[in-house]
Amino acid sequence: MQTREEMLRKIRLNKPERTSLPANIRFDSQYEDTESKFVETLTAIYTEVVIVKNWEELAVKAGELYEGVVNKATTIPELNNWADFSLNVADPHELEMIEILILKAEFGVAENGAVWISDNYLPHRVLPFITQNLALAIPRSAIVNNMHDAYERLTDTTGWGCFIAGPSKTADIEQSLVVGAHGARSMVIFLVEEA
């Protein structure tokens, strides 16, 4: 408590004259087509975009894309038959076995390919990170232009959320890009028309 008071006292003593916040903190991005920009950005960050009509078609596509893979999990009820790994575990460490995970997420951002996912969509926070491969499904209409639009849209009041842009990566070894550092080794974004 003493430290807190002392720090605040010194700050009050030493801080500069009050300035005001800038009046405008948002800028518009003009893209000819938001969805194509989103797809283009994602392609550049090693992410495949697959457009499907509905959840049933997503299930078919998932079957094709991840044929022969075991330990498949999902939070999407329509994909329950496709999955063979239950997310109903008490200890998140047990999720380590997951090979491919398809999750519903909220919306995407065209300028950087990020997709917002949060506690609202997840039984366990570690899911998008612990899985070997990840796919996120968002409504095809849920793409905003840039991060200003994203925060305007974000009314999420859950305890945790994340903008995820592409698979996990590192360039720490001589600046050579390696995809699949600690998190997902591959990433697919499904745009679902009738979601």
């Binding site: 010194k10 030493n14 800038p22 842009a165 998190g183």
Partner: protein
């Protein structure tokens, strides 16, 4: 002349013994700088974004106390424990006590320059705690028992052969293996095992949001999230200047951060932590460690606006040709050279001289810190305070090694000319020993070398 004062120049001398290596280091960093340029040019509003970010940060400095109190209140409402630490020792004690309370002796850590600044790993390991750095670059330098040489690219000074040898010794990879894919995979598996078995995780904080009590952690590897979401206790350490007023301000900062750092449009993971997950404990440690003092230095307080993107290092001709370790401080490069003397003027008196004052750092800084002006002002402060007994000598000797490389002249010559044409007052000052020693001529528009190269091509 005292030994400490010569440290940057001595270290540069060693660094410069291997010319092909220095050239490689220089070019690697310059390549990152070029990626930043390309990425920023794709946004027509780039300059306005920088100005906006700068103004938000100015406001933050002027309202720091209120914002911190607001953040603390919100975080507490969210079920997060908030601690305050006046200095490195207090910070480290808080971490140790939290671990002791839970009977934890091993912890994973994602990138946090603050814990480097506090020398936390050393302290914890002396107290029986095993800390594993999980960022690949940080793990590499940790295994080599050396500090990161760059705030964003911790192992940028190493070649893949060094890393191959290191992993052969510690992780059992094949002798002579240098394929980055193979080496990164070995590290992934080695660190997965740590994530699965550690009950405590410490992360840094990129932004703390006053109006929601949330804090944002950005990584490309996903290591902060892997650690935090599996651990029983998550500790987040932040310098108090990380605070921003509102969630929507993240829009401005997240657009600038990764583009300035590596040229990516955004980092792969931008995690917003607000409440602990069920059964988990979440702690935030708000650290001063000299920041209140820096806040009181009108000429240098702007350095607290820094968002740690590393752009000023990537662009700095001296950093590129002397390496991060030559700065003997947790944060290297131009910004480190402003932050360090605040902590210890004697020990870090050499750092503000490790610069040509070319101004390239200020030009790329996403929050518009007047970096090179501050370096110049530090020289005056240090000289007045008697920390620099032989002004001329130090400046010249500190720089001579770096500058004596022929390739350096090609860069600095080009930079120097544009600087002199646009801001002559900066170069023409008595504390620039560079200027004092030579009669600065009217800068020619084109150097002989440029002319020669151009004519040979034609």
């Amino acid at each position: 002349m005292s030994k400490t004062i010569m440290e940057h120049s001595e270290a540069s001398e060693v660094f410069n013994r291997d010319e092909p290596y220095v050239d490689w280091h220089d070019e690697t960093l310059w390549f990152v700088r070029q990626k930043r340029d390309k990425s920023s040019k794709l946004l027509p509003e780039w300059e306005e974004l920088r100005e906006t970010a700068s103004q938000i940060k100015n406001y933050v400095l002027s309202e720091l106390d209120e914002l911190l109190v607001q953040f603390e209140q919100k975080a507490k409402e969210n079920g997060v424990h908030v601690h305050w630490a006046a200095n490195a020792a207090e910070h480290n004690e808080i971490v140790l006590n939290l671990l002791k309370q839970h009977g934890i002796t091993a912890m994973v850590k994602s990138k946090s320059m603050l814990t480097e600044e506090c020398h936390m790993n050393e302290f914890l390991s002396k107290n029986g705690i095993d800390v594993i750095d999980t960022d690949l670059g940080e793990r590499i330098v940790q295994l080599r028992k050396e500090p990161p040489s760059h705030i964003v690219l911790p192992a940028i000074h190493l070649k893949k052969k060094d890393i191959g040898d290191l992993f052969h010794e510690h992780l059992g990879t094949e002798a002579g293996a240098t394929d980055p894919q193979y080496l990164a995979e070995a590290a992934r598996q080695h660190l997965r095992d740590k994530f699965m078995t550690r009950r405590a995780a410490l992360t840094g904080v990129n932004f703390a949001v006053a109006d929601t009590g949330a804090f944002v952690v950005a990584t490309n590897e996903g290591n902060a999230d892997m650690g935090a979401h599996l651990a029983d206790i998550h500790i987040a350490s932040m310098g108090f200047e990380k605070i921003i007023p509102k969630q929507e301000h993240l829009g401005v900062f997240l657009r600038l951060l990764a583009r300035s750092a590596t040229g990516q449009p955004v980092t792969a993971y931008n995690s917003h932590f607000k409440k602990p997950r069920e059964g988990q404990e979440m702690h935030i440690i708000i650290v001063d460690n000299g920041r209140t003092t820096q806040l009181g230095r009108a000429d240098f307080r702007n350095s607290l606006k820094c968002i740690r993107c590393g752009a000023c290092m990537n662009t700095c001709p001296v950093y590129r040709r002397s390496g991060g370790h030559s700065y003997h401080n947790a944060v290297a490069g131009p910004i480190g050279s402003i932050l360090a003397p605040n902590l210890d003027m004697t020990k870090y008196a050499d750092l503000p001289f490790a610069s040509t004052l070319c101004g390239s750092c200020s030009n790329v800084c996403p929050v518009k810190i007047d970096i090179h002006d501050q370096l110049y002002k530090w020289r005056q402060v240090l000289a007045k305070g008697g920390h620099v007994p032989q002004t001329k000598g130090i400046g010249i000797r500190a720089m001579s090694m770096v500058l004596s490389q022929p390739r350096f002249y090609q860069w600095s010559g080009r930079l120097g000319r544009s600087v002199m044409r646009t801001v002559p007052f900066m170069v023409n000052n008595s504390l620039n020993p560079w200027y004092k020693q030579r009669d600065m001529p009217e800068p020619p528009k084109e150097s002989f070398r440029d002319w020669y190269v151009r004519n040979r091509k034609e």
